[in-house]
Structure formats: C-alpha cells, structure tokens
Symmetry: C2
Subunit: 134 residues, 2 copies
C-alpha cells in the first residue's frame, strides 16, 4: 500500500505557543505505517523563530528559500541558505528560524514519527535572537 501523490493543502499558521513571530506550516506527508516519517514545509517571516525544542527521533531540515538560523544549546548560531541541510540527532536542544531581515523556508523531515515529533521548551528570547544574527 502507498499513499496517492498529494499536493500541499491547508497551510496553517504555526502556534503562537511554540513560535515567536509569524510562521506557516504545510503538511506534505503524514506519517504512514509504511514509512513512519512525516514531511512538512515551514516558512518563517523575518524575525520569526520557533522555541527551543528537541525531537524524540531526530529531524532533518532541507532549506529551500531565504536565509535562516539554526542554533543548538550552548553553540553559536549557524546561517542556513538554500541547499543546506541539517541532521539533528534525537534529544539535541535547538531552535531555527528566519534572520531578522529575510524570509526562510525549509522542509522538516521527521523519521520515527510514531515516537512523537517534538518536545517543546522555552521561547528564544529577543536577546538570544539578537545575538544569533549574522
């Protein structure tokens, strides 16, 4: 069994509980019994970022548009551009989002989705965010 090809539908605004600023999420692939892997596309408006968080089975980001930031707890932030990919091991606390001056879009690939997709922590403060700018 495999799913039909799907075209993205119903872009949703990311929850203000877990994001600072405006971000949009489009589900491309829901986790199925066949792959247990979900895929979404996330666009952050300038200044937007998600809270500190980690993933029970890890996550892969593939950047498709704009300029973004990725930071692991205790590490300097890294700038992400189209074509960049990040493989995030399970349990690593981090955040990602747009720079203050650019839109930013990435695919978010969630293997092992049946174990849960994300464990949310605190918002990235304005000070943390400012310090992360390139």
């Amino acid at each position: 069994m495999s799913e039909q090809p799907t075209t993205p539908t119903e872009t949703q605004r990311a929850s203000a509980d877990y994001f600072t600023g405006v971000a949009w999420v489009t589900s491309l692939v829901k986790a199925s019994d066949g792959t247990d892997c979900s895929v979404g596309e996330v666009t952050f408006e300038p200044g937007a970022r998600n809270n500190w968080h980690s993933h029970p089975s890890g996550q892969i980001l593939v950047v498709t548009m704009g300029t973004g930031l990725y930071q692991e707890r205790g590490q300097p932030a890294r700038v992400l551009r189209p074509g960049d990919a990040v493989s995030i091991a399970l349990g690593v606390v981090h955040w990602h989002g747009a720079t203050a001056t650019s839109l930013f879009t990435h695919y978010a690939i969630n293997p092992g989705a049946s174990k849960g997709v994300v464990d949310w922590g605190a918002p990235v403060t304005d000070d943390e965010y400012r310090a992360a700018q390139p």
Copy 2:
C-alpha cells in the same frame, strides 16, 4: 551530536545498472546514528527513469521541478509535479522518472536507512515507459 549544515557536493551520475537514460544524484544528508534517515536529490533528464525497485524501509519523494512519472507494479502511472509528495511503503515495487519531454527533480527521503535503501529489479522497458506517458 548533530552534523554540520551541509551544502550539496559531488553530484554523481546515477548508475547505468539501475537507470535508463541520464540521471544525476546529489547527497544532501547521509544517514547518521541520530536520525537513520538519508536525503538525496535526483534529477532525471527527459526520458530517464530508474529500474523497478522497492525499499526495505519505504521512501518518500518530494517533487521540486519538472514533470515526472510514478508507477507501482500493476497500477496506472501517475503524473508528478512540483509540490507533489509520494509516501512509498516498504516492499512496494515501483519506478519513477521524468516524462519523455521534461526534466524532473525530486528529493528522495530514506528513513530506516540502516536496513538498506533499495532492492533493484529489472529495467522499465521502452514499451512500459511509453504506456506510462501522460
């Protein structure tokens, strides 16, 4: 531990043992202990397609350019366009590739990569390929 962001390097021509026509493969993410999921980008020139095959842990395709075809054994072919995604369950025998008149690019997402990525079968014959055209 997580890997550094990576920019694609060393695009390789897909093996003539498993592809008909010219296709190009760029590795974006190698399977790591953290996610056990690899991601590649594949571009098929017009007329190119891979052999019949299946995946030990399934595979997800996300289309980014052009017009392509996806066919499961015994099913009609489906046309794929940018934004389409296909979730392919483990063991499902299928092929994918460009139409006869279009380039075609997709991401190939391989969860559970440590169980192996692909089991190859016979080439898609010219008759099978002609019958699949939209």
